[in-house]
Amino acid sequence: MLRLSCDHRVMPRPRRRQRPLLIAAEGLDGAGKSAQLDLLARWLERRGRSVTVERWPPSELVERAAATPRLRPALTARVAALLSAAESARRLDVDVRRPLEAGSVVLADRYVWTGVAREIARGLDPDWVASLYAFAPRPDIVMLFRQPLDAALANALQRRDSAVRNAAMSAAFGAFLERMIEAFDELVAGAGGRPRFGPWPVPVLEIDPSDHPDDLARVIRAAVRPLLAEVAAA
């Protein structure tokens, strides 16, 4: 959506003849995304690629406002969505665009779909939310870990972070996670199909977290290998 100069694919080519890649892992917590990305990172490094792993941190502006009684009333879903997106815009420029411009593979442990699904789960209009994040660099592939609701709930209840645990014990949390799952479903359906939905069209690999990790690693490598083979033209 930005001018082409902001799209990593047409930046001045990296000195190494290797095409930058952005691979995003999405899905609810406890699905094993981090472990799989770790395996993938090591596999890529063995093949001579430089790899960076980025997370999708909660918005500092939002957290600070939520923690301050004076500021909290102003923090509605729409305001929170816009503040998060603003912070993401800045962060993605530094943490994703720059490594891509340098020819790296960037592995995103949660990415834009997480932000989109969360805002939809909070009740904002899906089309508006999806359009909001169109500025973010488009991944070469999204791996969606289809973590079922009960597993995600159980995971949240076991977290060491007491804030997460307490939130998870509320009746609303299950409904919230359910809405996130529905939003992910919509994003998958719309990622390439008609009608299109989401910040950009993108190839999707659906992962069943209940499969054996070794099998998952194989599936993921099989999906990523063809992307590596495309080398930046001389």
């Binding site: 959506m1 957290e63 509605t76 420029d93 500025f135």
Partner: protein, 287 residues
């Protein structure tokens, strides 16, 4: 009740962009009047004068300006100074600022029947974003949630005239002057080129969103008369609940058929709009 826009209005939501969810406006008892204009157009001066006029007429008035929200004011200031922050982030913060003011100030005031006078509205951050090359459709969609204004007055004076009237202020905000774009090695020239871009954006908004041009090259008194006439016509139409036809050289206003919605009926729909009820009920944050 029919939406009483002239059928040839270029801002009819039928173009598919969905800008006007409610053709009759926000449907609340108050009135939202917006003043827009590029740097040096006299906007802040006239916002204050207009506020006084409306108060004198017995209306409760509340004024609101850009970047004054509790959560976004400071982040906006920081983003404008921060080299690592780009126009996307700044534009999103302006949208957050508008969202908060809309929910905490504008909508409650409109519900209470007040006149809200907005010194700049979504159009300014939109123009600043588009002038920096951000995608038009994205910018429009981003700001589409704002409450539709009942009247948007665009203080129409071109940048060349402004620069003749007064020297470039040394205190002008670099972001607002487009300094990051480096349109020219010469600071003054760069500033003028950027103001030209903004002016062109606003001219497009006049057509697209139904902004009303108010010639602003004259004296303060002349301009104020033009603004007052438009604002009071809106207020008085509401008070007497009859359709209004306003005769003004600058206005692109049609007389309305009888029985129409008195508030915004006599002028073309103003702004990107949304259902205020829906946005107001947006859920509290659950982290």
């Amino acid at each position: 009740m029919t939406g009483v826009r002239p059928s040839d209005s270029p801002v009819d939501g039928a173009d598919g962009r969905g800008l006007f969810v409610r053709p009759a406006g926000h449907g609340l008892p108050g009135r939202l009047i917006v003043l827009e204009g590029i740097d040096g157009s006299g906007r802040s001066t006239h916002a204050r004068l207009l506020e006084d006029v409306l108060r004198y007429r017995g209306r409760g008035v509340t004024r609101t300006s850009l970047a004054t929200s509790v959560l976004s004011a400071e982040p906006i200031r920081r983003a404008k100074r921060d080299r690592a922050s780009g126009p996307v982030a700044t534009t999103l913060l302006y949208a957050a600022d508008l969202a908060e003011r809309m929910e905490q100030l504008i909508l409650p005031a409109l519900r209470a029947g007040l006149v809200v006078l907005a010194d700049r509205y979504a159009y300014t951050p939109m123009a600043r974003a588009e002038a920096r090359g951000l995608d038009r459709a994205w910018v429009e969609k981003l700001f589409s949630f704002v409450v539709p204004a009942d009247l948007v007055l665009f203080l129409d004076v071109d940048p060349a005239t402004i620069l003749q009237r007064r020297p470039l202020q040394p205190t002008v905000d670099p972001y607002e002057a487009g300094a990051d774009l480096r349109l020219s090695a010469d600071v003054l020239e760069g500033y003028r080129l950027f103001q030209d871009r903004l002016y062109r954006c606003f001219s497009r908004y006049v057509e697209r969103y139904g902004l009303r041009r108010v010639p602003a090259a004259g004296t303060i008194h002349q301009v104020e008369r033009g603004l007052e006439r438009a604002a009071l016509a809106l207020i008085e139409a509401q008070a007497t609940r009859r359709p209004v036809s306003v005769r003004s050289k600058a206005a692109s206003v049609r007389a309305t058929p009888a029985g129409s919605d008195p508030g915004p009926a006599s002028v073309r729909p103003k702004a990107i709009g949304s259902d205020p009820g829906q946005t107001d009920r947006s859920a509290r944050v659950v982290e």
